[in-house]
């Protein structure tokens, strides 16, 4: 029987929240480990990757891993300069993320370690680091783990990943503003002519269907749920979802298990509990059998 699990090493979005009031949920930024036997895949390299790296140094069997980055905003890459395996000679680390070619990925990853932002550059990494050339069909594999990716709704080029590991379909969409066009159309509806309204009704349906399709067929969805509806009113257009939209979209897509992720660092444990209660209310009201959790640092899900 294979050893397969998923572990949250960092669950915050934007910036770290190392405050006593926040540590029940966790203070590190985005990083999720997916493990199948000796094959290790890391989704994003926020500060969560630092603890993961230290954890890996305490074992002797594994020296290879793949890091897939959704994008290059700081909260998704800022753990790399402190990721100790990169500085150890016998490690093999592959890195993938948005870019036209492997050199673009290297350029974006290296940028944060250039002077005057950091004392040493990636040239001091002693591990064998390989940047993966983007495959034309947007699919590749890491041992038995299958990875596919596509663009999501967030500033710049940002990927959502569909990962097949140990027979489970996992969707990792850390940063995605659900239903953005839907809301834009609603906001401007009154300014449009009857003909335009009819055309944009169609576009609204198309976009909605595309959002549902993104999540369909997933056993486990890890999705951006950064804001409460109240905060989303002020932060619409920041590239993140209101958790109610995330829950509703997951219900519509027939997702089995949803992990609310990329939590706002302003929300302490009490606020996060409220979010979970409200999410469960939505699920109850809609008579859905969706299983919904708050992603918490240290949480392990058997695959």
């Amino acid at each position: 029987m294979s050893k397969a699990y998923l572990r949250f090493w960092g669950v915050r979005g934007s910036y770290t929240a190392p405050f006593a009031s926040h540590l029940g949920v966790g203070g590190n930024t985005s990083c999720v480990e997916i493990r199948v036997d000796d094959h290790v895949l890391l989704c994003d390299a926020g500060t969560g990757i630092i603890n993961f790296g230290n954890h890996m140094l305490r074992q002797k069997d594994i020296r290879d891993l793949l890091i897939i980055l959704t994008h290059y905003h700081w909260d998704h890459i800022c753990g790399l300069p402190f990721f100790v395996p990169a500085f150890v000679p016998d490690w093999n680390i592959s890195i993938f993320g948005p870019g036209q070619k492997a050199a673009d990925i290297e350029e974006y990853v290296s940028a944060q370690m250039k002077a005057p932002f950091f004392p040493v550059g990636t040239e001091t990494w002693l591990a064998k680091v390989r940047y993966i050339t983007p495959p034309p069909d947007h699919r590749f594999a890491h041992g038995p783990i299958q990875i596919a990716y596509d663009n999501v709704h967030h500033p710049g080029s940002t990927y959502g990943y569909r990962i097949r590991a140990n027979g489970k379909n996992i969707l990792y969409v850390s940063d995605n503003e659900c239903l953005y066009l839907d809301k834009s159309i609603k906001l401007k509806y009154g300014e449009l002519s009857a003909e335009e309204q009819s055309l944009y009704d169609r576009m609204q349906r198309e976009e909605y269907e595309a959002e549902i399709k993104l999540l369909q067929g997933a056993d486990i969805v890890i999705h951006d749920a950064q804001y409460t509806p109240e905060d989303y009113l002020k932060k619409r257009g920041w590239g993140h979802s209101c958790f109610i939209d995330t829950v509703n979209t997951a219900i519509e897509a027939g997702v089995k298990e949803l992990y609310l992720y990329h939590h706002d660092p302003n929300y302490d444990d009490q606020e996060m509990e409220k979010i979970q209660r409200r999410a469960l209310e939505v699920i109850r009201e809609r008579k859905s059998d969706l299983v919904c959790h708050l992603a918490k640092e240290g949480m392990i899900i058997e695959l």
Binding site: N151, V152, H153, G156, L192, E196, L199, G237
Partner: protein
Amino acid sequence: MVINATPTVVVVDDSPSIKTIFERGMEGLNVKLRIFDSAQSSWEYLAINKPDLLFLNIKMPGKDGLTYLKELRQLPLHRDTAVVMISSKDYAQDRTIANELGARDFLTKPMPIRAITDIVVKYIGN
């Protein structure tokens, strides 16, 4: 390179309903409209044809519009092609990247049909 007497407008957007919006926006204008639903499907055409105006959506399945524009700009044929981004993503970062890649304008969905007409007239003339 194929040179057409009638100005050509190319749209790369995965939305099926965008076709009607552009067809309506160009009614009465002397332009030839070609629509592709992805970067991939337009590549063969754009590799050898320089449209008078190119509309690019940003968030599309496969290659996104910003990455595609970067790739097109590396071709001598498209170094100065007039490009307008059309996107549901209205983010400052996207506008900055588009601007750096020499996009002339940035339309956010839902735009009125008139906005398409105005942009075409602005860059091609009537």
